[in-house]
């Protein structure tokens, strides 16, 4: 096995005998105790994830806004300072290069947070499409640790570690230079990927273990990639490589809210996406629940009630909160109505399922 990349918490994992798996070239924990226990901690109290494997690319310069706006689907010009915006970077044909979070520090400074396995691809893409615009790009992934603190008690627990009034930090906003415990200079955003309230903490790499240990002491449960996946799926959130790919566009993925085809700046993929939006995509991502016992998994085939093959599962699991099989699938658009009955082929048996509205799990 090739040498795996290490997050700033690698030494902590070694010292505590945390089992690591190869995740897109990174040595990452799948679980610390139990995926279900970790899942429930995030739904009921508070858990945290090492997300340091994600990429951060800094974009600065007088043309930063127009440059970025020409490469992403959402509208950067609508952002105020300290805003975080969900975005998709697309190819000319509308297929997705990656989905990213854009942080605006001010009009001439942004950073783009991308998926770990796509960091190099996004980095090359941003460089190649720079042309002669006045922007500087810097890949700062290695210098930044990232911990996601998620759950209904996230604010309460985090507040014990900082004097900053976290109530003033609204959803999709961030604040720079907070002190968290003994660590200064932490960027904290009110964002996450679990369907719960929570924060993402961008920490100087060498200080990341210290913040992790303080959060543990404050009562936050360490969680791995396994529960991150069941949580995001229950929340109906897409995962790159599953619901969004170079052939599944954001329109097909149901992410039209983040595609501003009529924005002022022309952007890569605009024409293709505008066309898809007007004509309607041939295939789209739907959310479904199993009506009988059975767990859908990626690539399982999906059939219509009449037995005609209409697509495949892009993500699936047994929902720890709902105690039934749930998933997302790419199916023919004319078979994609809410309430439509489907059959999922699981080990040569066709098990009934039903298309439902997402999210699967909604907080009361």
């Amino acid at each position: 096995m090739a040498e795996l990349k290490k997050t700033p918490l690698f030494d902590y994992y070694q010292a505590n005998q945390v089992k690591l798996v190869d995740f897109g070239g990174w040595a990452m924990p799948m679980q610390f105790s139990s995926i279900i226990k970790e899942h429930q901690a995030v739904r009921q109290s508070v858990g945290m994830f090492d997300c340091s494997h994600m990429g951060e690319i800094l974009i600065t310069g007088p043309e930063a806004e127009t440059y970025l706006n020409s490469l992403v689907t959402n509208d950067i010009s609508r952002m105020a300072d300290d805003d975080v915006q969900y975005n998709i970077i697309c190819q000319d044909d509308g297929g997705a290069v990656d989905d990213v979070m854009v942080y605006r520090f001010h009009a001439e400074k942004y950073w783009v947070v991308c998926n770990a396995s796509n960091t190099e691809k996004v980095w090359q893409w941003l460089k190649e499409n720079k042309k002669n615009q006045h922007v500087e790009l810097e890949n700062v992934t290695q210098t930044v640790g990232l911990i996601a603190v998620q759950g209904p008690q996230a604010e309460m627990v985090m507040q014990t570690l900082t004097t900053f009034d976290l109530k003033t930090l609204k959803r999709h906003k961030f604040s720079q230079s907070l002190s968290v415990g003994e660590v200064a200079d932490v960027l904290v955003s009110r964002t996450g990927y679990t369907g719960e309230d929570g924060f993402e903490l961008y920490i100087p790499a060498q200080e990341t273990p210290s913040v992790w240990e303080q959060l543990l002491k404050a009562g936050t449960l360490a969680c791995g990639l396994g529960s991150r996946d069941t949580l995001r799926l229950e929340a109906g959130l897409p995962l790159y490589g599953h619901e969004l790919t170079e052939t599944i566009s954001p329109i097909m993925a149901g992410l039209g809210f983040a595609v501003k085809t009529d924005k002022q700046v022309a952007f890569k993929g605009q024409e293709a996406l505008t066309h898809q939006r007007q004509a309607g995509p041939v295939k789209k991502i739907v959310s479904f629940q199993m009506l009988e016992r059975g767990i859908p998994r990626q690539n399982y085939l999906v059939f219509s009630e009449k037995g005609q093959e209409i697509g495949y599962v892009t993500s699936g699991t047994q929902s720890p909160s709902l105690k039934k099989g749930i998933g997302m699938a790419l199916v023919d658009s004319d078979q994609a109505q809410i309430g439509q009955q489907l059959l999922i082929e699981i080990r040569n048996k066709k098990i009934p399922a039903e298309i439902i509205k997402k999210p699967f799990y909604k907080k009361d």
């Binding site: 799948m30 995926i35 396994g226 069941t230 016992r293 059975g294 767990i295 998994r297 047994q318 720890p320």
Partner: protein, 129 residues
């Protein structure tokens, strides 16, 4: 009560003779640990006669799907009904309450091809090294 004799496969199944040629089959402590939270134990429905290596049960954890194979040949006589509603029993008690099927062994000499407790522990140690 005397300790019952168990036999093990390289795929981490165990067989235990409970009476005459009647045996129980399950997966080992090591196997359940590797799988993590088990959420579904799916029996091959019309299962009766099985040969060594046939699929007898599919075990699904949150993250993965694995097949359990017949360690010996014979006739499946019982499935552990408890696992339908409480698959997590396999995590809690893999070697006892979490047994998966009962079967009548057709050829007890096949047991000789399996590992005993000591050999299995050595096999585990080697696999982990």
């Amino acid at each position: 009560m005397t300790e019952k004799k168990r036999y093990y496969t390289e795929e981490h199944e165990w067989v235990e003779i409970i009476e005459g040629n009647t045996a129980r089959v399950g997966i080992t402590e090591h196997a359940q640990e590797q799988l993590g939270d088990i959420v579904f134990v799916d029996y091959t429905s019309d299962l009766q006669e099985v040969a060594v290596g046939d699929d007898i049960v599919t075990v699904e954890s949150v993250k993965s799907v694995s097949d359990v194979y017949a360690p010996v040949s014979g006739t499946v006589t019982k499935q552990n009904e408890q696992l339908a509603d409480a698959p997590e029993t396999v995590n809690v008690s893999a070697m006892d309450q979490g047994w998966m099927i009962e079967m009548e062994i057709s050829d007890p000499s096949e047991l000789k091809h399996l590992m005993d407790e000591e050999a299995y522990q050595a096999f585990l140690a080697e696999e982990e090294a």
